[in-house]
């Protein structure tokens, strides 16, 4: 997205391998800090964070690694970092683009593990997320990259993929019509079809039919999508409150949000607001697994426009530039100046205090990167 005012990237959470995250001092950063990327003042347009290192891509096409993996390369339009593989999309010689998979330890020297030519998307390479979303979805939208073999995975041509996200053991796909598909393991309810069964092939989320989605994100074992009207739907594992539903582990520490309210979509797609109550009318106990999408209210009137998930935490941006985070917080990845795990959405006050509007959020497994601009003075 273009910004008239060039903003700043911030980071918070786990940086135990020295990956750039604000000051990078110590192993964890609990409150947002401006990024000091190696190599000085870079014009970062995309951040892809794995557990032990982060890849920064600049508008000039340079990719810079920070953390357990180092190195840099030029001529890159996109990067996707995982522990097993670093995947780069490079403007190839001539007209085509090239997909390259590197061992993170290679420091981008020598040869990639493998590479192949890929079909360009129309419109040419750019850093903007215009038509087809970033890696691991390939620009042609006919295939995606996986960190485990087979690395190159074709998608059925009928799926007009717009965005694809990978969790620890599942995949989410958003198509051109705003439909969501999921496949992979389902034991934590992360597929959203109402069961714990696995799905070998992309399966349409019937519960969301009729509600066009604008964004999807996959965490380790949970899934989130945003409707075009700014509503949040969330499902999967809630062991750390990453679904913003009451979780037992926090209750045992006396820290849960009692009085959990959530709306669920009934099987026929109709929305019913279900307040979970126990037999005595008190707020019901805990949700460990939510196998159907549940509607989540951030705050009255707010519209969610962007979402990103870490292993066990969730981050959502509103249209007005506020950032909300919840879920596992042990390494400061929620940005609330502490290490508390939360099972309800909380606004990251840092940006409000500094009069910054958040425009992008990108979560690594245990940390969070945010791009924010100064509030326009009206």
């Amino acid at each position: 997205m273009d910004e008239e005012h060039r903003g700043t990237w911030f980071g918070f959470g786990f940086c135990g391998f020295g990956q750039a995250l604000g000051s990078g001092l110590g192993r964890q950063v609990h409150s947002p800090e401006p990024l000091r990327t190696p190599g000085g003042n870079l014009d970062v347009c995309r951040v892809s964070a794995s557990w032990s290192y982060t890849a920064f891509v600049t508008r000039g096409g340079r990719v810079q690694l920070s953390g357990a993996a180092g190195g840099a390369a030029s001529g890159c339009t996109d990067a996707w970092a995982s522990e097993e593989l670093l995947v780069l999309l490079r403007a190839g010689p001539g007209a085509g683009a090239e997909l390259q998979a590197w061992a993170p330890s290679s420091a981008l020297r020598g040869e990639p593990l493998w590479s192949q030519a890929v079909q360009e998307a129309e419109g040419g390479p750019s850093c903007d997320e215009t038509q087809v979303g970033p890696l691991p979805l390939l620009p042609c939208a006919r295939a995606y990259v996986s960190p485990r073999p087979p690395f190159y995975r074709p998608l059925a041509p009928t799926l007009r993929a717009r965005r694809l996200e990978l969790g620890a053991e599942h995949a989410l796909l958003l198509d051109a019509a705003g439909q969501v598909f999921s496949w992979g393991a389902g034991r934590h309810g992360q597929l959203g079809h109402g069961t714990l069964e696995a799905e070998p092939e992309p399966r349409l989320l019937e519960a969301l039919q009729g509600l066009p989605m604008a964004e999807v994100a996959a965490g380790g074992w949970h899934s989130v999508c945003l409707s075009e009207t700014g509503d949040i739907y969330i499902w999967g594992w809630n062991e750390s409150g990453q679904l913003a539903l009451p979780t037992k582990s926090l209750a045992e520490d006396g820290k849960t949000t009692a009085g959990g309210e959530a709306s669920g979509l009934d099987e026929d797609g109709s929305e019913g607001k279900r307040v979970f109550t126990g037999e005595d009318g008190a707020p019901a106990p805990f949700i460990a697994v939510q196998p159907f999408p549940a509607l989540l209210d951030l705050s009255p009137g707010s519209e969610a426009v962007k979402v990103s998930c870490g292993s066990r935490h969730t981050a959502v941006l509103t249209r007005t530039g506020e950032l909300y985070t919840w879920g596992w917080g042990k390494y400061g990845q929620l940005g609330h100046e502490d290490t508390a795990t939360l099972d309800r959405p909380c606004r990251v006050e840092y940006f409000v205090d500094k009069q910054l509007q958040v425009r992008t959020v990108s979560c690594g497994p245990w940390n969070t990167y945010v791009y924010a601009v100064e509030k326009e003075k009206s």
Partner: protein, 406 residues
């Protein structure tokens, strides 16, 4: 309690002396970044930097925990479980650095137990040895166990309640044999797959005389174990959680518990070798193809009323009853259709029918399915043939030991 430094010395004696020996042989699955952290943890430990070592251990534990929860448990690479165990080991020992208090030692024992429950054996089963030392240290400070005269009235009361004890005389009973020969058992029961109760086989095992609520609390009270909460594992409200054996007894056995809790299907005897001394392996297991080390021994310990819904297991089973009585029903695998197994992969070995309260409108054929039943009492051994459907309800506070063999 013996001094914290005595404990520290006892633990140091168990660990490898050099930091080079404090390492794991790991395959490719474990990424270089994790190997780096393992080395760092060992160095910090040997450098006496306890706080930093604990921090690194937390990272190792959190990361390997995520791996342990990715994919089915059977497919989790053993190396990740070793990494997890390693993190638990260093965490446990660091927590015991003098001056340690009882709470730290209890936390250290819990870390060991997590490593034993979810990790894999490392450094010559070191976690077992460390756990034994920690347990001994914790117990030496405890008050002596209450004398039998203080036996809690709530248990007695439960026995006198109107427990629905099925009238097995009207049902077909499982046959009983006293010490059959190996050949007789094989010919008439193992090969044709017929259940039988064996008497005189286990009744002299030390557990039959030794085990009581007090004894179990004494030997295992401070150890962390998995507990199932909820009436049946097929219920929506069913869940699994971890707690010490003492906590389990206080919450789910004594004091008129609100919910049903069951210490079920847990390899307690691997975790607490001292208890393994009180049991044996039934001789008849030698009739199988497998090795003795491959026999899975599970503990089943819970209050009156625990229920295992009708299900089948993929191995032969000797169910040894030690404390209390269990009502058991058995259905032949040839009649599986009349038992309406769930069609999900997760529960395909479990029937949808509630055996003692069947919904015959929904499951009409169940009414005609023939079965055998019995009340299994202390000292008796029930042979459940492979894939034979069985339903179990505890009529009293109960402790059973099952042997799965092939």
């Amino acid at each position: 309690m013996a001094g914290p430094s005595a404990l520290w010395e006892a633990l140091q004696a168990l660990l490898p002396h050099t930091k080079e020996e404090l390492k794991l042989e790991l395959g490719e699955k474990v990424e270089g970044s994790v190997v780096m952290l393992l080395q760092e943890a060992a160095e910090l430990f040997h450098g006496g930097q306890r706080r930093e070592c604990l921090q690194t251990c937390e990272v190792l534990l959190d990361y390997s925990w995520e791996k342990l929860n990715t994919g089915p448990w059977q497919h989790v690479d053993k190396d990740w479980r070793r990494v997890y165990a390693f993190g638990c080991l260093l965490k446990a020992v660091c927590l015991c650095e003098p001056p340690g208090d009882a709470a730290s030692v209890a936390a250290a024992l819990k870390a060991c137990d997590m490593g034993l429950l979810m990790g894999a054996a490392i450094l010559g089963d070191i976690l077992l040895k460390v756990a034994a030392v920690l347990q001994k240290h914790l117990l030496s400070g405890k008050r002596p166990a209450p004398s039998p005269s203080q036996e809690l009235p709530s248990i007695k009361k439960a026995r006198d309640d109107h427990v629905p004890i099925p009238d097995v005389t009207t049902e077909r009973t499982v046959p009983r044999l006293h010490c059959p020969s190996l050949q007789y058992f094989k010919k008439h029961f193992l090969v044709p797959g017929r259940p039988v109760i064996l008497e005189g086989v286990a009744n002299h095992w030390p557990c039959m005389k030794k085990w009581s609520l007090e004894y179990i609390q004494e030997v295992a009270g401070c150890r962390t174990v998995p507990v199932e909460v909820g009436s049946r594992y097929t219920d929506e409200e069913w869940s699994q959680t971890l707690m010490t054996v003492s906590e389990f007894i206080n919450k789910y056995v004594r004091n008129e518990p609100k919910d049903v809790g069951y210490l079920a299907q847990h390899q307690l005897f691997d975790q607490i070798p001292e208890l393994k001394q009180d049991i044996s392996i039934p001789d008849y297991c030698c009739l199988g193809d497998g090795e003795e080390e491959e026999i899975t021994i599970n503990a089943w310990f819970g209050p009156q009323g625990t229920v295992s819904p009708l299900h089948q297991d993929p191995q032969q089973n000797f169910l040894v009853q030690v404390m209390g009585r269990k009502y058991i029903r058995l259905y032949s695998p040839q009649k599986s259709e009349a038992l309406y197994p769930h069609d999900t992969h997760l529960l395909h070995n479990t029937s949808q029918v509630d055996v003692e309260n069947p919904d015959l409108e929904k499951f009409p054929r169940f009414a005609e399915a023939p079965f055998q039943s019995c009340v299994l009492s202390p000292g008796e051994v029930l042979f459940i043939p492979v894939k034979h459907w069985h339903y179990v309800r505890a009529l009293d506070l109960s402790f059973s030991v099952s042997f799965w063999w092939s």
